[in-house]
Assembly symmetry: C2
Homo-oligomer: 353 residues x 2
DNA sequence: TTGATCACCGAAACCGGTTTCGGTTAGCGT
DNA sequence: ACGCTAACCGAAACCGGTTTCGGTGATCAA
């Protein structure tokens, strides 16, 4: 039985209205009374009932994070850090952070509608949108402030925070080309994911910028896991002309690739180069340590929270868009292609040009 | 402007009281009226304002997860999965999950007091308690239902879910002994953490059960990270008689140990055996794949949520205690000690017995 | 002295639900 | 025809705050 405002008021010989205004710094309360109320409040340990307060002021003061889950798979590793950052951003205003699981494909919109209609949330953070994500359409139509962690094709109208996956994969491909690679494959995630399409675009653009083409079978779309990366790699290595370099849509897939390469008796970084994406800390302990395109994860949650609060304050979503860059972290899985292959490669290039 | 109950009522020519009772299946509402209300409700997309509802029924219908953070370090990897499970458990009753960061040492109790006093939460889930955790004392005194993910020394009075770290380390030590090891060291986390003490107890007990002692310097308490594991390992390997087997308080520390061992030109699993703890999926990609004591993480969140809801329903905390067992997952970092060392070792044993 | 102004606080409406209580109507027995 | 009961719903209190509005007392000028 917590101490209520009424109890505080009668204790002071005042009315609840006066107490409320005193605590909220209304100008029509004398400094003396305000001080008295303050003193009594924290002597009795009074805290306003937030449920009542929020009902009264008309906002839930709560935002919701739609935690991505793909069934069977485990929660993506960035989630915990993101939540920490979000929590920090919201804390400065005493807003609450609600976590709800959300699977973009699976009739998940109903949950969202209920959440909004029931006035539980004043804003939404949405991770890993699909290329055409029904949730974005929904949130827009319902007028619920939201910010997307990632982007879709039509990303002009809403607020987002993203890392430039396309540029990252151009960089990755460039890097391999400069090392001497000509046969560069990609292991991509399922293309309904917006980020997968972006990274694929980057791969293609990177090859084109270097006057290279995507050889038959060099684009492998696999399950978004280490197992997916491994099986895709096996397929690649079984090709008549296997690639000498592989870029992967995630570090996790890249780790699977490393395993598959080692299983063939080859050495990642010498026989086949592999570049991952994410920059998960764990990569340094891989065998060998994984070269990757690292993104600055730490900022994400904090920024998403700040942006969402701005939106709720009435900011224009188009002014709340932030694109971060990934950067190459060279470890041990990138290197020049094996000599013999490079030779062969040159002749192929001359043939095709 | 969502449709409110009053709007629904006037639309139907009823009063709000009637509508409310109809929707909540009161027996004094005719089946016909109930049906009419139901139909109109979901035709207009009516959803009860949860803030108002919760104020009225007197419970926030929300529980809070205290997300552990040690400053500087990153969020522990189990958090995301735990949240997913928690969320599932709470969803069946439409309770909300609030995430709050919490650092046990750092005057964090004030935040908790405010949360409870302001009626924002009806229960708390608390991860990684300290050996004597002020938060547990606080929650008990305030009468706030809570369940601890982990245990402290005095764990009888409250609800908890834990994995038996002591037994796990007995098992790990036994395993190394059976492989022929006699010089077994431990790299432990800071001992203010309850789990660290438990695992250390298991290590000591395991040695004692095998009539072995803890040699001077064989217990290294290090920072709870891969860097900590690495530097502790370097100290161990610099000992006049370095260990042939090392058990680590976490997989992350174990990975650091592997790196340090390889840096000395030694091969983990052949020259020095290493056993981690946690069973993080990533361990299979370590160099070499990490042998570890794996715990069944998937259940944790779900169980914690169920237990907390039971407590809120009035269950006795002492009936809500669940101890899981870790199991040994053999990969490639465990093996018999090197021959030469084993020889030396035998002679040592004979000397000391 | 009187009226106007101002500082300060009480009273009450309100947020949107839930729940109690009481009254109306219909159906029934006598 | 009358009373009684049960079924059904309206009215209003309530949850614990916020905010508007109006009233009191003091102060001040005329």
């Amino acid at each position: 039985m917590p101490v209520t405002q009424k109890a505080l008021a009668t204790h002071l010989g005042l009315t609840v209205g006066t107490v409320s205004r005193a605590l909220n710094d209304y100008p029509d309360i004398s400094a003396e009374t305000r001080a008295r109320v303050r003193a009594a409040a924290d002597r009795l340990g009074y805290r306003a009932n937030q449920t009542a307060r929020r009902l009264s002021i008309g906002t839930p003061e709560t935002v919701c994070y739609l935690m991505p889950r793909q069934l069977g798979a485990h929660v993506p590793p960035f989630v915990a850090e993101l939540l920490a950052g979000l929590s920090d951003a919201l804390a400065v205003r005493n807003w609450d952070l609600l976590v709800v699981q959300s699977e973009a494909g699976a009739g998940d919109e109903e949950t969202l509608v209920k959440l909004i209609r029931s006035n539980r949330i004043g804003g939404v953070v949405l991770s890993r949108p699909l290329k055409t994500d029904p949730r974005i359409k929904l949130l827009t139509e319902m007028g619920c402030p939201f910010v997307v962690h990632g982007r879709t094709a039509s990303s002009d109208a809403y607020a987002w925070y993203d890392v430039d996956g396309q540029e990252a994969f151009v960089t990755a491909v460039n890097h391999l080309v400069h090392l001497g690679h000509r046969r560069i494959a990609m292991i991509c995630a399922p293309l309904q994911n917006a980020f997968a399409q972006q990274r694929l675009d980057g791969y293609r653009r990177g090859l084109r910028l270097n006057a290279l083409q995507v050889p038959e079978g060099y684009l492998q779309v696999a399950e978004f896991s280490d197992a997916g990366g491994a099986s895709a790699t096996r397929i690649l290595m079984d090709l008549p002309r296997p690639p000498t370099g592989i870029v992967c849509a995630s570090d996790e897939m890249a780790l699977g690739a490393l395993a598959a390469i080692r299983d063939r008796g080859l050495e990642p970084g010498r026989d086949v180069s592999v570049i991952g994406y994410d920059g998960v800390h764990f990569g340094v302990h891989a065998n060998p340590p994984l070269t990757t395109m690292a993104q600055p994860q730490a900022r994400a949650g904090r920024r998403l929270g700040d942006m969402l609060l701005s939106l709720i304050d009435g900011a224009d979503p188009r002014t709340e868009q932030e694109l971060q860059r990934a950067h190459l972290v060279r470890r041990k899985t990138d290197g020049p292609p094996p000599k013999s292959v490079a030779m062969t490669d040159v002749s192929i290039r001359e043939e095709t040009t």
